[in-house]
Symmetry: C2
């Protein structure tokens, strides 16, 4: 990532990075991309439709042109290809809602206190940040991240070849939006899903299960993954984006519980932002380590090697590593 | 700025842009770049020197490698060319302090409330944001922005060919750090500078004048640029990065006052982030319009054409447009 010429632009872009986040967030909150996609394409038309000041809309739209999300031809604005595919609420791959979580006050607070977090080696948000029991940010997460997670879940379902699988009994730990289990159930009518999470979060997952038409094969287990009994006999235990919140010893405790919950031949499936073993890439996975530092007491982005060590300590024999390209997520699967 | 392929990476990078700002801010606050520049180059050595947790330092450093500010070779970190030139406190072109202003809580608050600002067409920060009298953010500004402004001031001094100028009498309006006047005085021993700003801000400018060895030709005028009499007979009235805080009518009032303060043949010199007349570039100038929306009641990034109209209304006859490349700042000069 080093460059040869000194770049004051790179410094300035990074100094002002938060402004690009804020501009995109405002545009999503005002649903500007959906409106422009529907042909409401001038400053005045948008201002009238959104009940906003024209000078506010103009400044926002021009910023978004510079950022690559809009195009402009005279007084008319249009969607860039990226905005048309991912930010128009009517597009099948819409992921705009994710900003509600990724730039939520809770997550941003961790980064506001980042210098302190670096000093102490863990979040500087009081009360363990988002890991406090029943924290409402996870309801936000479940709603906001469902579209993005749905895409990753589909890639995972393909990796697992669920369409040719027998009638799996699946346990989805810290299910959140529930999408990882729900997509498996959608693609194979024999799959039964048990989703575990806080009660208020599971209400959102249950809505997603209903919308996906799999409610009859979707049941919920309410409470903390650490305290609630999981039952046993599962073919798959999913741990999607969960281990990174905890220190390795805690992860091993969870994996030991997963091991005990599996039927013979059953598998644990870990989905993570996993950096390479030398932490030199991929960029977003390496950066994610700082997200966990900012927001959790002792979490981290674990490498494949670190995850394999935890699995071994939890009694698993062998683990396999998988990419979910084009998603940045990676997968480790280990058999009981 | 449109691209042909839809890019989920662009969306993700923008969602998380604020995290890159926070990482760089933490690194500057912990003075990581200066320490690495001095050869303190491993996680453990830096953690000991900064009295921080090794896991915090590791997550921060690896993030900075991904962002282009550090290099890494095994366990040793080094400065990228950009960091060596601009972020090492011992480098002559150090500008790291600017983040203290650009990502100050005050400026960031405007962007936190950006959706509201777009709706109302002006800042959603109470009490007119940073424009409240004696607002302490301007002391922060004067300290933080001096190095970056010093570079721009040098480019401006070259544009004005100050070294071959007669003994100019210069008025620097809303002088802040004072660098625009100070650099002129440094390069021509006949130049006399009067700097106008709030009292607490001028204390910082006076320190800069002393450090530059021009105290004897640097005097201050305390108060609001709108209320304090400016006196007259100036050869140059500088308006560096000031007009963008106000609406056009207010700018015209200031320019009329500048006109009256000039000696015959005197010139007003406006330094601004000025977008092209169609507001299709340069990117940072176009984006700056949103910064003013977020932080001021009615300010804007004015185009060359808009500035020329204001100058005309204020009684100036002709104006010339200038670039300050490689700085993104632009200049309009108008003769009385």
């Amino acid at each position: 990532m080093a460059e040869d010429e000194p770049s004051l632009s790179l410094v300035w872009e990074t100094f002002t990075g938060y402004q690009r986040t804020a501009a995109l967030k405002a545009a999503i909150e005002l649903d500007v991309f959906t409106l422009i996609g529907a042909g409401i394409a001038t400053v005045d038309a948008l201002a009238e439709r959104c009940d906003t000041a024209p000078r506010g809309v103009r400044a926002l739209l021009n910023h978004l042109v510079m950022d690559g999300f809009l195009t402009r031809d005279g007084e008319r604005y249009g969607l860039s290809t990226t905005a048309a595919v991912f930010l128009n609420r009517n597009a099948p791959a819409y992921v705009g809602s994710a900003i509600t979580f990724i730039a939520s006050p809770m997550i941003m607070e961790g980064f506001t206190r980042l210098t302190d977090a670096v000093r102490r080696g863990g979040t500087a948000i009081p009360d363990d940040g988002a890991l406090a029991p029943e924290h409402p940010v996870w309801v936000e997460f479940a709603r906001a991240m469902a579209p993005l997670a749905g895409m990753t879940a589909l890639l995972l379902a393909n990796l697992l070849d669920v369409e040719h699988a027998p009638a799996w009994k699946v346990l989805d730990i810290a299910a959140g939006h529930g999408m990882f289990g729900i997509v498996l159930a959608q693609l194979n009518s024999g799959v039964q899903v048990t989703a575990l999470d806080w009660k208020n979060v599971l209400a959102v997952a249950a809505q997603h299960a209903q919308a996906a038409g799999v409610s009859a094969r979707f049941r919920t287990l309410v409470g903390s993954a650490f305290d609630v009994p999981w039952e046993d006999g599962y073919d798959l235990v999913l741990l999607p984006n969960f281990l990174h919140h905890f220190d390795p010893a805690t992860c091993e405790r969870l994996l030991t519980k997963a091991h005990a919950a599996l039927a013979p031949g059953g598998r644990v499936v870990i989905v993570e932002f996993a950096p390479d073993d030398d932490r030199m890439g991929p960029p977003d996975a390496v950066r994610f380590s700082l997200t966990m530092l900012a927001g959790t007491p002792a979490g981290d982005a674990y490498t494949f090697a670190e995850l394999e060590t935890m699995l071994q300590h939890a009694g698993f024999q062998r683990a396999t590593r998988h990419e979910l390209s084009p998603s940045p997520a990676r997968v480790v699967i280990a058999e009981r």
